[in-house]
Symmetry: C2
Subunit: 699 residues, 2 copies
């Protein structure tokens, strides 16, 4: 069932309606009436005959016709009984405004569970509890105590914080920003962010989905669904509680576990979600997405009546990585025809301080026709002769004539540009308080366009020996062993197509020399003991041995010295292993995020990871393109490509390694964490070697 009964109900009952101003039960009723709701409103309150001229009912059952939507504002303890009533009369959509549930602790959590269980049994969908309600301006539905009905517009907003929604509503109303839907999801005991997003995804009025979240209910499903929706319309999210301090505040507030920042970043990137750092930024973006077409590219032209702000815009364009549009010669010529001699005919086009509306109109008209311009920002400062309102009208007109290219505006000032700003807002031209925020918005639009034009995701499936891994994993879990040892880790890697170094365990120096002989020199010796995790720390690794004598010496020294350093260690022997060809050491890893599942990691080995923390993350399963992108996004990528005459390494093979690892951890959710370190890669065409690996499981 969708949320249609919430958004467009025939009738609404308010259980707990009150006559007392200031009480939530009164405010909601008053808001419903003030908004001009066209359906029937049924106040429910056994102690009142009528409220605000509406007949009041003693209970839901006493209403002649079952209300399609029920708003509950009675105290928490009484909510279960009301839910029973809803089930009885057959209402299928309920908003529980009342607080005092999960957010106050164990008792509230139990109450919430009870209420939702009852709702589910009766096939009732519930928004809340602990929420502000919902608003649908086009239907004159203000089923909330958040504030006045806002204008109707293209933004759908969902918020996990009711108070924030109230603030947003107040700000939006002051600025004439319009919405398609506003939903306060509160504790999201039933209807959650994903339900709301799905519901507005196909809503023709909704041009952009925006929201504030502190947690995400089901990470995996959310990513899948958001990715689907992002192809239809942009999603702008504020997600707080990402940092440590924020997460602590979040969990004390909503009792929900905040996911790790990196996983959220990856999830949002995968899903095409545009993350916003502040409400201001979110509305900066939303204005443009709701009212303007998407830019075809990143080339921005600026029209201004003052040099200073023009320079500020140019600086911002470069900082954001956009392109400062180079105007076509024809454009410059056309501009020269009518602009004064002192005007700057190149980007940023300076129409000069004495420009009236007609000069702006002319310049915008000419620049919009330049095929080398993908978006236009019109700047205006209020000077002696400036016609803010007429200029705004001209912009609305010209932009309306060319609906394929976005136009944004930044009228600086306040009183002197107020009328102009009003005209721009009404005319669908997004208006910004600084050149920087306008340019930041154009950047968000181009990033979204780039995301949308990415090729379809195809995850390659490699032929692997899944059975072999199943056996190892299951045997470990059966015995409660969660760390897989070196030998079996390598079995697992080989089963998924990784090549590991050859070698065998020697228990005597003679054996060691023999194995070395067979492998061919040089070889590596490693102490073999389940009790020694950090082999090098005890002198348990010796590399680059090139002769029988060196092998014998190294063997004997390990066997003699290590038991003295680690008397309790059970030593099984010494591994004699082929020495890897020279190559670069990288790390491939995976950490299973509690919300979003396997998070893949790539980094250069050694100091690059340790000192520079130069690593890239992405959610599994990886496509070839995404695996490659992980490499490219590290600062040290150039080192892999080869610098200073170094020929570089086989980048495709690293990407393949990441994809194989991604397949492994996707097929085996029992693997909690693992890394291949080092993964030694040589020059193009050679086979990388997975030298060492650590795998840990969870039940």
């Amino acid at each position: 069932m969708g949320l249609e009964s919430f958004f467009n109900p025939r009738s609404v009952a308010i259980v707990g309606a009150s006559r007392q101003e200031g009480k939530v039960g009164y405010e909601i009723l008053a808001n419903m009436i003030a908004a001009g709701y066209k359906g029937q409103i049924f106040p429910v309150n056994p102690k009142a005959e009528e409220i605000e001229g509406l007949k009041c009912y003693a209970s839901l059952e006493s209403i002649p016709d079952a209300p399609e939507l029920v708003l509950i504002v009675v105290p928490a303890k009484m909510v279960p009984a009301v839910m029973q009533e809803c089930a009885k009369v057959g209402s299928k959509a309920v908003v529980i405004i009342t607080a005092g549930f999960k957010e106050v602790g164990e008792e509230g959590r139990a109450l919430e569970r009870q209420v939702i269980q009852a709702a589910r049994q009766a096939g009732i969908r519930v928004i809340g509890p602990n929420c502000l309600g919902l608003i649908v301006p086009a239907n004159h539905l203000n089923a909330s105590f958040g504030g006045d009905l806002p204008a109707s517009g293209g933004i759908a907003y969902l918020s996990q914080s009711g108070a924030l929604l109230a603030a947003i509503l107040d700000t939006a109303n002051a600025n004439g920003i319009g919405f398609s839907k506003l939903v306060s999801i509160g504790n999201k005991a039933d209807v959650d962010e994903q339900d709301v997003m799905e519901a507005v995804a196909d809503d023709a009025q909704t041009k952009v989905i925006a929201g504030y979240l502190e947690s995400i209910t089901d990470g995996n499903a959310f990513v899948r669904e958001a990715e689907r929706i992002s192809h239809i319309k942009p999603i702008l999210l504020m997600k707080s509680g990402g940092t440590q301090a924020g997460a602590e505040a979040a969990s004390s507030h909503t009792g929900s576990l905040a996911g790790s920042e990196v996983a959220y970043e990856s999830a949002f990137e995968r899903a095409g979600i545009i993350r916003c750092d502040s409400i201001k930024q979110q509305f900066d973006y939303a204005q443009a997405f709701a009212n303007q077409p998407l830019p075809a590219g990143s080339r921005v032209a600026v029209i201004t009546n003052a040099g200073g702000p023009g320079i500020m815009a140019a600086d911002a364009i470069e900082r954001e990585g956009l392109t400062f549009a180079k105007l076509d010669e024809g454009t410059v010529k056309k501009l020269a025809e009518k602009l004064p001699a002192a005007a700057n005919l190149h980007n940023p086009i300076d129409v000069l301080g004495d420009a009236l509306a007609d000069r702006y109109e002319f310049a915008l008209d000419v620049v919009m026709d330049d095929s080398g311009v993908d978006a236009v920002l019109v700047l205006l400062t209020p000077q002696a002769m400036t016609e803010a309102a007429a200029t705004a009208e001209a912009i609305v007109k010209v932009a309306g004539q060319r609906p394929g290219k976005p136009v944004l505006s930044c009228f600086l000032g306040a009183a002197k540009v107020r009328d102009g700003v009003g005209i721009l807002r009404k005319g669908g031209i997004p208006q910004y308080d600084s050149p920087e925020s306008a340019i930041d918005t154009i950047d968000a639009m181009t990033r979204y366009v780039q995301w949308r034009s990415r090729p379809k995701r195809v995850v390659r499936l490699f032929p692997v020996n899944r059975r072999r891994v199943e056996n190892i994993v299951e045997r470990h879990l059966r015995h409660g062993i969660l760390d897989i040892g070196e030998a079996e880790s390598k079995d697992i890697l080989e089963a998924y197509g990784f090549v590991t170094p050859k070698g065998s365990i020697a228990t005597t120096a003679d054996q060691a020399a023999n194995i070395a002989q067979q492998l061919g020199y040089p070889v590596v010796l490693k102490i073999w003991s389940p009790d020694i995790l950090h082999k090098s720390d005890v002198g348990g690794v010796k590399v680059g041995l090139t002769s029988e004598q060196e092998v014998r010496d190294a063997f004997d020294l390990m066997i003699y010295r290590i038991p003295k350093k680690k008397p309790d260690a059970h030593i099984l022997g010494v591994l004699v292993q082929e020495m890897c060809r020279k190559g670069k050491e990288v790390i491939l890893g995976m950490h299973r995020d509690p919300h979003f599942g396997p998070l893949m990691m790539f980094g250069m080995g050694g100091i690059m990871v340790e000192v520079l923390k130069d690593v890239a993350f992405y959610l599994a399963p990886l496509t070839a393109q995404e695996a490659k992108q992980m490499l490219v996004s590290t600062k040290t990528y150039k080192i892999l490509q080869g610098v200073r005459g170094d020929e570089g390494v086989d980048i495709e093979r690293i990407a393949e390694g990441l994809q194989r690892l991604s397949q492994l951890v996707t097929e085996f959710p029992q693997i909690k964490e693992m890394d291949i370190n080092p993964y030694v890669v040589g020059s193009p065409g050679t086979t990388p070697i997975a030298v060492d690996a650590r795998i840990s499981l969870e039940q």
Copy 2:
């Protein structure tokens, strides 16, 4: 002469006053009158008897008493004549509003030069030309056509863009932001940013200096003066034209050469200037600096009536690197006494959605007393029972009682908090439109406090052989040779206390073997020719030679092969040099910035610089602390300190090298660019070797 006659004149003449509304000559006169200026106003216009009820004069000379301040709005061509008149009557302060000078090209530039020369001869100071004028609210002086007289307050503002100043004025007036002075410096033909900053530095009303600049007239003097002033009061600057696109726009606009971004960053850092990215950010900062005390530390407490914004603030605190204050146990206990059970008593303190003003007052009062809190941010969302105005009054009251600790506020919303916001503004509590911008402001305040508490700068002077360098430099310049060769570069380095590798030039294999014998093996051979810059490219470098035979072979191969590759090169021999001890290679460098002088550079050698661009810059002369800070600020600093059991290198000696180099380039302004690459540093206690150096001169 200071600028007192500009800021507080007894009388003002307006040359070019007009009766025609909309004309600048009218607007200025009208603004002067509307502002309630207490001195005499003399309109000057030969064609009018009186304007706006004031007697009009035919010329400056016909005014009975010489006006202290003269505003010129006549066309550019007439300005020289007016300046002559000023000289004659003895006015010493002139504002040229008129445009059409340097900014329009060569002719205008000549006119400007002529006017300023005349002024200088007569001892007249000039603001402008091509400016908006100036405003001093406390003296009811609005000698501008920028807009209405703003409120009096603690912000001094100077702007190189008149249009921007007009926009700022309009915005400030709408928000009740007060100023001590506003100065539009225009083309700054005489009075420039530095003059204005000096003038307001000791002005008791000015609490913070803010400005918008596109260029800086005299970089070195500016840095020195700004550094002095920053110790007295904060300087907040927007500097545009930093990026490439911005710089192009800047030079087409003002004809001034924009300095390189890195040099500006270093200069601002040295001078304690707080750089702002947008006007909004600048006013966010200015509000707080003008009205609130500086925080003693970085521990921030947050009081809120809603969880969401509290989390957003907590996230921002962590992102900015501030400290999320941990409340004292006593504080928590005290809070528990009066706050409801469901309130969060820990940071962020949640006084809950139904909090009235008294609850905010109580919480703020308690938190302000916590010695573990350095700054408090009060958040408010407009909920059903919220008392925005009364809460604002409570905040103003409590903050006023404890003037030693900054309090900032963020009342979210618009209409519902409007009265509250007005009360906060009047009461000197900075008010922000998002938690993020409030926290960003606290961060700017703490950064300023940290800068101010830095120890006094003491530049160490090393005993050097300055004479020796003088000889080399002067001889080169005399002969017009701008690149100093390897041998003499090393002489210069040695004169400044650097150790360079030992070695001599050999012209025969026998000689080479002999020199190697004396130096001791291993040695390096390098081809010696003024015509070969990149020795390795032609096989002209051979390292790690360990025997006489290897030296002879290498010598003969170079002498045989290189002339074939470079037939025109004049080969003087082969340098036989001692091989450097193992160590890490770093680069010490200097680039002389046209505005700010020698800009020192430090970076790790090899791929760290090439791939990661991991370098640090700072303006010379360097103190020991600054040199060390350059090292610390690189990402690869940890590598110098030693990782993974590596003992690291002698960091103090690298810092010393930077200081010596700083002294050299400071004492020899003829050195345009130089770098020591590689500078090989070994473990602590060893002497670094300046292996190679490149020095280029300018006349």
